[in-house]
Symmetry: C2
Subunit: 194 residues, 2 copies
DNA sequence: TACTTAACGGTACGGAACGTCCCGTACCGA
DNA sequence: TCGGTACGGGACGTTCCGTACCGTTAAGTA
């Protein structure tokens, strides 16, 4: 049968998430309505609400469905080069469509939806941060970094300015900027104060 | 007359912003409706819309009305101590009520309202960043920092991780964390890679 | 003081989207 | 064959939006 009147289960789930991504790119994630998503997916509102309790939860799963090929760190032995490679591709992912706008919309939602904030941290931010720290730890264990090197703070200094630009100043997030941060982190901004 | 049935002009403006702050703290800025604000202020919706085109714009002016005593940098001659003082009080301001939740709500709105994002940068983020850079520049001119010291990048490294915690990980933003960042910025995280 | 004018509170309105509910249908396994 | 269940469709009451129109009232002007 070439015709499939309406399927069930995972089929519907995938169709709804696809409709979310399509509509999100067309009209923007902020203007997205559950009704429009349901209509686009050829589903009823019940079917949407059966799966996701809120628009934010739907956005979140749609984001993960796009990003499933998680960003894994390379390990060439050169910590700076590996961080560079990894952060460059993370920036590319978080900047371009469809993930970029969706990601920003999710962070926006997370500001007044604690369970979304928690999910975002547990299943997206946290794992990425853990991978960065793990790669840094390996470099430290191999003697490329001082034993006193503060791994989690280094991660925060690498991530913070990027999110600052993405969410606040909204200036373009370039590879060159990533390189400036890496350079500052490993070779310093200048000598200590007198 | 002790009784003031209803005043005009600046009186109404102030009353509406006050109602916004009160209601925001009571029910949360996300659930705030223009109708509820108008009712609380004893104003009609027309009067609110005459002044602000959107809820986000109202939030923005309400934020500035609280924060008007702008954060100015001390200048004791010690750059690290002055940064510490300034950032500590900025963190206190942005963490506690009523500014903290309101500020987060505004950044949330800015993600899908470009004019709010622009206003936020021009009248809040930008001026604060400028003051930080100016204070750093003075220290550099006085020889406390290397002539090659990257002022704007230092500002980003100071701000970024704080906003990262405020908006993403939502861990408590402590003075001790600020101190860790300052320490890393000026004395380094550890030696360069081999 | 008397008149004019602009801002005001109140209210009604159409529209959009919310989240819930019910109905009749189509698939599925026992 | 027969229940169980997920489904599409659609109606529902609600909230809030932003606008329009009232009669009233305070402030400015002569």
């Amino acid at each position: 049968m070439t015709d499939t009147p309406h399927r069930r289960g995972a089929d519907r789930t995938a169709a709804i998430m696809r409709a979310t991504l399509e509509l999100g790119q067309e009209i923007g994630y902020a203007k997205l309505s559950m009704e429009a998503v349901a209509a686009r997916a050829g589903a009823s509102k019940q079917t949407v609400y059966r799966r996701w309790p809120s628009k934010a939860a739907l956005l979140f799963d749609s984001l993960l469905s796009v990003n499933e090929p998680a960003l894994d760190y390379p390990d060439t032995g050169d910590i700076v080069a590996d961080l560079r490679t990894q952060i460059h591709s993370a920036v590319d992912l978080l900047t371009g469509p469809p993930v970029g706008p969706l990601f920003r919309a999710l962070i926006s939602e997370a500001q007044h939806a604690p369970q979304i904030a928690a999910a975002l941290n547990e299943r997206f931010i946290g794992p990425q941060a853990d991978k960065t720290v793990a790669r840094l730890r390996k470099a430290r264990d191999e003697g490329q970094l001082s034993p006193a090197f503060d791994l989690t703070l280094a991660m925060a200094i690498l991530s913070g300015p990027l999110y600052f630009q993405l969410l606040i100043t909204q200036e373009p997030l370039t590879h060159a900027y990533v390189d400036r941060i890496l350079d500052a982190l490993f070779t310093g901004l200048g000598p200590s104060p007198a």
